[in-house]
Each structure stands twice: as structure tokens, then as C-alpha cells.
């Protein structure tokens, strides 16, 4: 695909300029940088240089020339440095870069890394960090995103269907538990499977009409669906309590045993001193188990006819049809299963928080989950973990830059796409081998064949 088109549209350096050989043409680089700086000036004049400041009910025009000139200067210098590096980079490189090789090694040792990570996750609460509520809380949040990422990975990474409304299924799961638990008092352990099924059912209802559509239409319809769900949650006061959300959602129990002070509670039965940490650690393990189930399920599915059909569909739908594969059913199964895991994660979210409102289910949430899947490497389970760590942990580390979080997030999405369009870990292992013994050798061979 990239082949012939890339020749025609190879970017700005293909407008007939002779390639710069040997030394760097300094005048050329300065000119380029000046043009870039000029454009940056044009862009930032109205939005950075000028500021429509809210003063009372009025708007006042303020100027911020220092910011404006700083932006222009940064672009000039940045472009200049980039141009210098670009000329160096243009020389043909031999073989994959060190970074690629590192990633490849990671990919090959996936199983070992996975087991180590799992063991680390299991012992985390029993280490000295385990006593830190903040760390357990963040780790739980991280695992929710890992689980959502793995769920969406079925839809986007394996089946290649761009779902921009995944958060809708998350919301369905969350409201499912919140409503059933507050109205009927059912236990989390009963509602958890129900909410998954309910979300999957929603997936089928939505998927059935729209999965016949071309990829990009699907993206926009799922986006619309996500918005519809949110609008309904906001406006259907009688059921959802509108924008105020649902409060007082019953907390999780240790399979029926409550986490409280007093007799017959978790602490009492296990002879422990009551600590608020118990329930947090328990929640941590619940989401860890849920996430691991999601992962194992997906890994197993990949080796089954349905999972293989997902990947085949991602590669070529027309070829699938010519082989007698029903594309609608295959898409529907991916969509419904992805939705199901979203529903599980949603009901976990609501039992942990004890409070939910439509605020938690905005488009940006869908975009974050999608980013986790895509940045990690489409279809790569380990990639999802790495990307989730990046998305969840980085903002915690850089708390002082809180307000720049989404800006950097959006920028990172663009940069990573431009840099590695298939994400960080864009490798794929075959789901079945004819010659399992020399699997390693064939991977080397593949590199040569490419």
C-alpha cells in the first residue's frame, strides 16, 4: 500500500530539489526554519498573542507578546534542529534500529514478561507499597484501563473495527450495576455477569444495523451512539437521576461478607484489625482477576476459528467473503464480546466508586481507551499494558502539569502515529505453527524476506 503512493507524495522534500549530499546546506535550513517560524507566527498570533479575557460578564482584549514570540522562537529552533537531524537520518540505515530490536526482544519474551508482571501484580499489595492507599488506588485505576484496553483490543486490534463509542458499553455496565444494586439490592457478584451480558446485548443491537457499513462510517456511528447514551443518561431523570448521577451504590462484599467494623464482617472472620485498606486491596485483586480473564480469553480466542476470522477480516474483508465467512456475524461477535468486557469493567467501576454520573462517560474516555490500544500496538496485549501505564501513570507523576495533560495526550497520539503508525509493539505471532521447533529461526527469516 505504501509503495507506489509514497513515491508520488513523498513529502516536502520531493518538490524537485536536489538531494543534499555531504554537508548540510545551512542557508536552506535557515530558510526552512524561517518559513516554519512564520507559519507558527500566523497560527499563534490570534490564539497565543491575543487573549480574550473574561472580566466579569465582559470580554477584554489582552496581549501576550512574550508568549507569542516565545512560540515563534521555539518553532524556529525546533525546526532548525529537526532539519539538521533529518539530513543525517536520510542516510540509508542497515537493518532495524536498536529500538526496533529491543521491542522485538520484548515481543519474543512476551510470555516470561507476562508471568513476571503478573507475579509482581499479585505480590504488590503485600510489599511495603501495599500499605499506601494512593498506590493501590492508582494501580486499580491502571488495571481498569488495562482491562478496557484489552476489551477494546478485540474490536479494534483484532477485528479492525474502529469503535469510537466504547465508553457507552462501559456506561451500560456501570449503570446496570448501580441501578440494580440500589433498587433491588442484588449483590455485585450476581450483577457482574448480568452487566456484561447486558452490554453485549447492547453491542449486538447497535452492531446489527451498522456493521455492514464501511470502516469509517462505523467509527462515526459508534461515536454518535456513545453520545446518544450520554445524552440519555443526562436527560432520563426518572431512571438515571440525570447529571447528578447515582449515589450510595452498595459497596463490594467478600462474596457476601461485608467490609465493615463489627461482627461477621471480613476483618472479624479473618481475625484482622479493621482497616479501610482491606476493601481497596480486595478491589485491586478483583480487577486484576477480571483483567487476567479478559487477557486469557482473548489469547484463547485468537487460536479459535472466530478469533482467526477476526484477524482475517481486519486484513481483507473481500477475501473473507470469498472463503464463505459471514462478515456480519464475525464483526458482531467481536463487537459483542468487546462490549461484554466493557460492561464488566463498568460494573466494577461503579462498585468501586460508589457514585457514578454521566460525566465519567464522555467521548474523551473513549478516546483514551482507543489511544491505549493504538499506541501500544494494534492487537498486542503487552502493548496495551505499556500504553495504559503511560496514560494513567504519567499524569499522576506530572501532577503539576495537570492542565496540559490532555494537550500532551492529543499531541502524543499524533506523534506516535506519525512515528510508528502501527503502534509501539506492532509485531504479531502466528496463532499456530507448522514447525514449532524452529519458530525462532522463521522469525529471523521473515525479517530477511520483508
Amino acid at each position: 500500500m505504501a509503495g507506489p503512493e509514497a513515491n508520488v507524495t513523498a513529502g516536502p522534500d520531493s518538490d524537485g530539489r536536489a538531494p543534499m549530499q555531504g554537508g548540510i546546506n545551512l542557508a536552506e535550513v535557515v530558510k526552512e526554519s524561517a518559513i516554519a517560524a512564520g507559519i507558527a507566527g500566523l497560527l499563534s498570533l490570534p490564539l497565543l498573542g491575543l487573549h480574550a479575557a473574561n472580566v466579569g460578564a465582559q470580554l477584554l482584549l489582552r496581549t501576550r507578546w512574550e508568549l507569542f514570540f516565545a512560540a515563534v522562537a521555539v518553532v524556529f529552533v525546533g525546526r532548525f534542529v529537526l532539519a539538521l537531524f533529518r539530513d543525517r537520518r536520510k542516510r540509508p540505515s542497515h537493518g532495524p534500529s536498536a529500538f526496533d530490536r529491543t521491542l522485538h526482544v520484548i515481543h519474543e519474551r512476551m510470555l516470561v514478561i507476562g508471568i513476571v508482571a503478573l507475579v509482581a501484580a499479585v505480590i504488590l499489595p503485600f510489599t511495603e507499597w501495599g500499605g499506601d492507599r494512593y498506590i493501590i488506588y492508582t494501580a486499580t485505576t491502571f488495571l481498569i484501563y488495562v482491562m478496557l484496553g484489552w476489551g477494546l483490543n478485540i474490536v479494534v486490534g483484532l477485528a479492525g473495527l474502529l469503535d469510537l463509542g466504547y465508553v457507552a458499553f462501559y456506561a451500560v455496565g456501570a449503570y446496570c450495576y448501580a441501578l440494580i444494586a440500589t433498587h433491588f439490592g442484588w449483590s455485585f457478584w450476581v450483577v457482574l455477569p448480568l452487566s456484561g451480558l447486558f452490554a453485549a446485548f447492547f453491542g449486538v443491537i447497535l452492531g446489527f444495523p451498522v456493521l455492514r457499513l464501511r470502516g469509517d462510517y462505523l467509527a462515526i456511528v459508534t461515536l454518535g451512539f456513545g453520545e446518544i447514551v450520554r445524552v440519555i443518561l443526562i436527560n432520563w431523570y426518572d431512571v438515571t437521576n440525570g447529571p447528578d448521577g447515582i449515589i450510595g451504590i452498595p459497596r463490594i462484599t467478600f462474596f457476601g461478607i461485608e467490609f465493615r467494623r463489627g461482627e461477621g464482617t471480613f476483618a472479624d472472620l479473618f481475625g484482622l484489625d479493621f482497616s479501610a485498606l482491606h476493601v481497596m486491596v480486595f478491589l485491586y485483586f478483583v480487577i486484576l482477576v477480571l483483567a487476567v480473564i479478559t487477557n486469557l480469553f482473548t489469547q484463547r480466542m485468537r487460536k479459535l476459528p472466530t478469533g482467526r476470522a477476526w484477524e482475517a477480516l481486519r486484513e481483507d474483508e473481500i477475501a473473507c467473503r470469498s472463503l464463505g465467512i459471514n462478515p456480519t456475524n464475525v464483526k458482531l461477535s467481536a463487537f459483542a464480546l468487546g462490549a461484554m468486557f466493557g460492561g464488566f469493567a463498568g460494573s466494577f467501576f461503579s462498585v468501586r466508586a460508589g457514585f457514578i454520573s454521566p460525566e465519567s462517560f464522555t467521548f474523551i474516555e473513549s478516546a483514551i481507551i482507543l489511544a491505549i490500544v493504538v499506541l501500544g500496538g494494534m492487537g498486542s496485549q503487552l502493548g496495551v499494558v505499556i500504553a495504559a501505564a503511560f496514560v494513567v501513570v504519567m499524569p499522576e507523576v506530572f501532577r503539576q502539569f495537570e492542565q496540559y495533560r490532555m494537550l500532551m495526550f492529543g499531541g502524543a497520539m499524533v506523534l506516535i502515529m506519525v512515528w510508528r503508525p502501527r503502534g509501539l509493539l506492532a509485531f504479531r505471532s502466528p496463532t499456530i505453527l507448522m514447525h514449532p521447533k524452529d519458530g525462532k529461526k522463521t522469525i529471523v527469516l521473515k525479517k530477511e524476506g520483508a
Binding site: M1, A2, P4, E5, A6, V8, T9, G11, P12, D15, I39, L43, L45, P46, L47, L48, L50, H51, A52, A53, N54, A57, L59, L61, V156, L162, P209, V210, R212, R214, G215, D216, Y217, A219, I220, V221, G224, E227, I228, V231, I234, N235, I318, F363, A367, L370, A371, V374, M406, L407, F409, G410, G411, A412, M413, V414, M417, V418, P421, R422
Partner: protein, 306 residues
């Protein structure tokens, strides 16, 4: 009730003109490189912000002659927004041309998030109110129950400007060499390149044209509602995209038709049913159209290449 109906018709047409102008940007970009420019809604939002700031600058310079002010603001919005449109394509889409299918779309989503937050940070999250610029209107008709149908001068301005822009763009696409190059790239980008069309430049200009129209829509929204905030791009973009699909993506008259239909649906739904669910109604229409007529109202049927 006829009066009420007519009033909604006028409101719907005005709103539809705005959606239509944004929709053209989606449809042109989709036509030429086959991607949904997800950040187009944010381009429109930037157009609205530039308009607000331009009005403030004119206010500071004490220019109060309204036609002149409008002209200056219009031009400023077009120029600055076009620069944004061009840059977005250059940075986020061009490096991904010919890359795998989902990459540009995801890059576009990233761009949309980044732009929205950039404006939020640089201009503040609060809504930006401006004084009404065009006031008054003509009473067209007084109904039985004393309900008057008013067409404001602003609505007249919006509709006339839309018609003029449509005429100019139709002329560009059908009569000029740029339009020919665009249509050539739409049919076969590689072949167009081989016969000497500067494909990069043509695509860039397509983005610029889309951004110019979005800027005009931004100005119209600023005038119509009197408030702007960093979040308006998302919903407007969604609805405009819906309009483009409804009209048949890739078709310019289709985008305008789709925009007007979406505007009318929204106006009538709000007037006769519930205003809360107007967005649901719009997306419902989108889903129905995609199911029963996936090529849209004026779109050409697509023959699958096997």
C-alpha cells in the same frame, strides 16, 4: 400554527447553512484522500475564536462601521483559520498518507483533542460572550394568534453569504484548474501525480478551502449565538459530518443539502418534541440513512472493486 412552522423553517435554514458550510470541509477532504478529518470541528471552533478576537481588536481600534467590521473579521477568520487547516494536514496527515487504514483517523482524533485543549489553555475555559453585532429584523408575517414570523438581518446575512460562497466554490471546483486538479486527485491520486498534478499542493489547498468555509461558519455561529467556547467544535463537527454523510459524502451539493436537512430536523425536533433529545434525533437520522441509503442522498453508488 403556520406562523410557528414558518419561523422554525427560517431558523432551521439558518442553522442548516452553518452545518452545510462545515460539512463541505468534511466532504471535500473525504473525497480527495478518503479520510474523516476528525479535527475539522476544531478548525471551525478556531474560526469562531478568531472571529471573537478579531471583533475585540476592532473594538479596541474603535472601528464601528458594521459592514467594514464584518468584512475585516471575515477575512481575518478566513486567513488565520486557513493557516490552522493547512498546518493540521501538514503535521498530522501528510506523513501518514499511504499508511495503514486507521492511522490517519487516529492521528486526527489526537489532533482534535490537542487543538481543543490548546484553545482551552490559551484562551480559558469560560464561555466568551460578545455584544450583538447585527441587530433587528424584518417581520414577514403575523399569524392568527399574534405570533410574528421574524427574519433577522443576521439570518438574511447568513443565508446570503452561504449562497454566495456556494456559488464561488462551485465555480472553483467546476471551472478552475485547481478544481480540475482536485477532481483528478479524487479519481486517482497516483495517476494525477504522474501527469503532473502537484498532489501535495492540491490536497493542502483542499484543507485550506475546507478551513476557510469552517471559519465562515465559525463567524456565523459567533454572531448568531453571541457566545463561543472551546467545546463547540465537537458537536458541530459531528453534526456537520452527519450532514455530509446524509447528503452523500464526496458530493458538494450533497453536503449543503445534508446540512440544511440536519438544521431543519434539529429546529423542528426542538420545536415540536423535546429539545434535550435533538442530538439523538440527528444521530438517529444518520443511522437510518446509513442503513437504508449508505451512499447518502446525492452520493454516487459505490461499486466495490474486487
Amino acid at each position: 400554527m403556520l406562523a410557528y412552522f414558518l419561523q422554525q423553517l427560517i431558523n432551521g435554514l439558518t442553522l442548516g447553512s452553518i452545518y452545510g458550510l462545515i460539512a463541505i470541509g468534511y466532504t471535500m477532504v473525504y473525497g480527495i484522500i478518503g479520510m474523516i478529518n476528525f479535527a475539522h470541528g476544531e478548525i471551525f471552533m478556531i474560526g469562531a475564536f478568531v472571529s471573537v478576537i478579531a471583533f475585540l481588536v476592532l473594538g479596541a481600534l474603535d472601528i464601528t462601521f458594521i459592514p467594514l467590521a464584518l468584512l475585516v473579521v471575515l477575512l481575518a477568520a478566513m486567513v488565520f483559520t486557513a493557516a490552522w487547516g493547512w498546518t493540521v494536514e501538514r503535521l498530522a496527515y501528510r506523513p501518514l498518507r499511504g499508511s495503514f487504514r486507521l492511522a490517519p483517523l487516529i492521528s486526527a482524533i489526537g489532533m482534535s483533542i490537542a487543538l481543543q485543549n490548546f484553545v482551552q489553555i490559551s484562551q480559558g475555559a469560560r464561555v466568551k460572550p460578545i455584544q450583538p453585532v447585527i441587530q433587528g429584523g424584518v417581520v414577514l408575517f403575523t399569524g392568527d394568534e399574534g405570533f410574528t414570523v421574524v427574519m433577522s438581518y443576521l439570518q438574511i446575512f447568513i443565508i446570503i453569504l452561504t449562497v454566495v460562497l456556494m456559488a464561488v466554490f462551485t465555480w472553483i471546483i467546476t471551472r478552475t484548474s485547481l478544481g480540475r486538479q482536485q477532481r483528478a486527485c479524487e479519481q486517482d491520486r497516483m495517476m494525477a501525480g504522474l501527469v503532473g498534478v502537484n498532489v501535495d499542493r492540491t490536497i493542502s489547498l483542499t484543507f485550506v478551502m475546507g478551513a476557510v468555509l469552517a471559519a465562515v461558519a465559525g463567524l456565523m455561529v459567533t454572531l448568531q449565538y453571541g457566545v463561543v467556547d472551546f467545546y463547540i467544535g465537537f458537536l458541530a463537527g459531528m453534526k456537520a459530518f452527519t450532514a455530509a454523510v446524509l447528503g452523500g459524502i464526496g458530493s458538494l451539493p450533497g453536503a449543503m443539502l445534508g446540512g440544511i436537512l440536519i438544521g431543519l430536523i434539529e429546529a423542528f425536533w426542538s420545536a415540536y418534541f423535546t429539545i434535550e433529545y435533538k442530538d439523538v434525533a440527528v444521530f438517529g437520522v444518520l443511522v437510518l440513512v446509513l442503513i437504508f441509503r449508505p451512499t447518502g442522498l446525492l452520493g454516487r453508488p459505490e461499486v466495490e472493486k474486487v
